[in-house]
């Protein structure tokens, strides 16, 4: 059966072509068939059936009524445990609902399960999870590929058609890169568009919720559902949320696209440069003006990110101390020993590495040299974009420097792993909205992604450019 879109499914439900129960049973069946992909940390069929029962009794109209959605296991949910893919939260049952998941529940969606991720969203391959790797559904037999990360479970869930949409979070590329690896659409909106309330914090000045879907239209429907102001998140923006879907317009005639020269990086595979050129040609044909722009501080984005993100993480993760919730070590002869053993046994290797780095760059004597310096370079990176957006309406780049790589390939060298985010991190530092859409294939027939970046809170332009490219590619 070909994958149905969220939009089509809403119409089918409306016209009673299919019932909520039939629809979700179809998805439940596939979820059980695809267990080997290890997409879900938490999946409970009874729980899904209960949600179906409740919705069948509910006569009100809701925008996403009956739509199966997968939730990244970083969002706190009352109805399901929340682990952040960490041993330290293995048995954590939130007593409150995250803002984003509450919005989805209010719209009547059905949560099929909690998806796997890199532990506390720290990684680019969903291989630092305490609950094992997720396998990219596009893998050939005996050649498992990484789904990207950190939201690899959510990207894989959409790619394997185990849901009609999924939530993700993106700190340095954690939605866009796995979307590219799994051949699905993934959007990280402007910093502040979706409340961070109830999302396990990684790097608070960068973390942003977003969505995965089969296509751009579906993403526009889902993003509108989860966006909005929330006073419990002090950086939540009070902006009007347009009806992205209704306003979709693939006519780009007269618009200007910025092509940043700094994103041509030595060693980028030919195929990636090729799809980038192809995308530019498509836009040109649509009457879009091509403008070569410069973002001169691009090469400093990754090192800046790998100071700021661990610094904020070391502070955010201080809360996991074995006192208030989560895992506590058995070896606890003193309070200090309890902290040190709990955290030693509860966190995985990559998380500890980042806490240690973060603690170091924030420690007395090093704060100015590292953290403050990085915040200043961050300002220059943001200024680069502000300047560029005076000359163009949106920016187009590749999403990732490679297609999906074999599972565990890059695990030993942290810096090599960090380079996965080379095209996604700059926009994260600048708080800009970015989408990744599938665009072309590599020589092994694996999908590649094109990234579209927009101005702050100009998600509409990002969607318009994305839908235009998508329609010309199909």
């Amino acid at each position: 059966m070909p994958k149905s879109s969220l939009k089509q499914t809403l119409q089918d439900l409306e016209s009673k072509k299919i019932s909520i129960r039939e629809l979700n049973q179809d998805y439940l069946k596939r979820i059980k068939e695809k267990e080997n992909l290890n997409v879900f940390i938490h999946f409970n069929e009874e729980n899904v059936l209960k949600q179906i029962d409740n919705l069948e009794k509910d006569n009100s109209t809701k925008k996403l009524k009956g739509i199966p959605i997968a939730i990244k296991d970083l969002f706190c949910t009352k109805s399901m445990p929340t682990t952040a893919a960490s041993k330290i939260l293995e048995n954590f049952n939130p007593t409150y609902e995250s803002f984003v998941t509450q919005k989805l529940l209010d719209e009547g969606s059905i949560f099929v399960g909690k998806t796997n991720l890199d532990e506390f969203a720290m990684g680019s391959a969903t291989n630092t999870s305490f609950f094992g790797n997720t396998i990219n559904p596009l893998s050939k037999e005996n050649e498992p590929l990484a789904p990207g990360g950190s939201s690899g479970g959510s990207a894989a869930a959409v790619a394997a058609d185990l849901c009609l949409g999924a939530t993700g979070t993106d700190t340095g590329g954690s939605i866009r890169q796995p979307a590219s690896f799994c051949g699905v659409v993934g959007i990280k909106p402007t910093y502040g568009l979706c409340s961070r309330w109830g999302i396990a914090a990684f790097a608070s000045s960068l973390d942003q919720a977003g969505v995965f879907s089969h296509n751009v239209e579906d993403a526009s429907i889902l993003l509108e559902s989860i966006a909005g102001f929330d006073q419990r998140d002090s950086t939540s923006a009070k902006v009007d949320i347009p009806n992205y879907f209704e306003n979709l317009d693939d006519d780009l005639n007269g618009k200007t696209v910025g092509i940043p020269k700094e994103y041509s990086i030595d060693g980028t595979p030919m195929e990636i440069s090729q799809i980038w050129e192809d995308a530019i040609k498509v836009l040109e044909k649509k009457g879009v003006k091509i403008k070569n722009i410069s973002l001169p501080h691009t090469k400093y984005a990754l090192p800046t990110y790998y100071i700021i993100a661990p610094a904020e993480a070391s502070s955010n993760l201080a809360r996991y101390d074995g006192v208030k919730y989560g895992f506590r070590s058995d070896e606890i002869n003193s309070l200090d020993e309890m902290y040190e053993n709990t955290r030693a046994q509860g966190f995985g290797r990559e998380v500890k590495r980042r806490i240690l780095i973060g603690t170091y760059v924030l420690s007395a004597g090093y704060y100015d040299a590292y953290y403050l310096k990085a915040q200043k370079v961050r300002k220059l990176i943001a200024d680069d974009f502000n300047k560029a957006f005076k000359e163009c309406d949106f920016i187009v780049t590749p999403t990732a420097p490679s297609a999906a790589f074999p599972l565990n390939e890059k695990q030993n060298d942290p810096i090599k792993m960090y380079l996965n985010d080379v095209f996604t991190v700059p926009a994260s530092l600048a708080g800009l909205p970015g989408i990744s859409i599938p665009f072309g294939k590599d020589k092994n027939n694996l999908p590649l992604g094109i990234q579209i970046l927009g101005k702050h809170f100009d998600e509409q332009q990002v969607f318009n450019a994305a839908v235009s490219l998508e329609r010309s590619y199909e």
Binding site: F92, T95, T235, Y300, A318, Y325, R328, N341, K376, V377
Partner: protein
């Protein structure tokens, strides 16, 4: 080399993470290579540049200053690994 045995022990202590010898060795290597790599930021002239800590371009609204009584101590304690009479319980601190 920026990180040696003493430094890693100090950071681990500040982070409240116990490391064994093998882990310390590995992290000394990792952290040094990461710190060498981020060193390139020194090429950037940041004189008179304001550090950026909040990227949001929207004006963040203030909320009304009203207190709310949400007596939720039971909820808060629900996930505690150890609790006693409405409090979190920890190993004895004072002898």
């Amino acid at each position: 080399m920026k990180i040696d045995k003493n430094t890693i022990n100090k950071i681990a202590r500040l982070s409240r993470i116990k490391l064994d010898d093998k882990e310390s060795e590995d992290y000394i290597k990792d952290l040094n290579s990461i710190l060498d790599w981020v060193e390139q930021l020194n090429e950037v002239n940041t004189e008179n540049v304001e550090p950026l800590s909040n990227i949001s371009s929207s004006i963040l609204p203030k909320r009304e200053d009203v207190s709310k009584d949400t007596n939720s101590s039971e909820e808060i304690l629900e996930n505690a690994p150890d609790k006693l009479e409405g409090f979190f319980a920890v190993p004895k601190v004072v002898e």
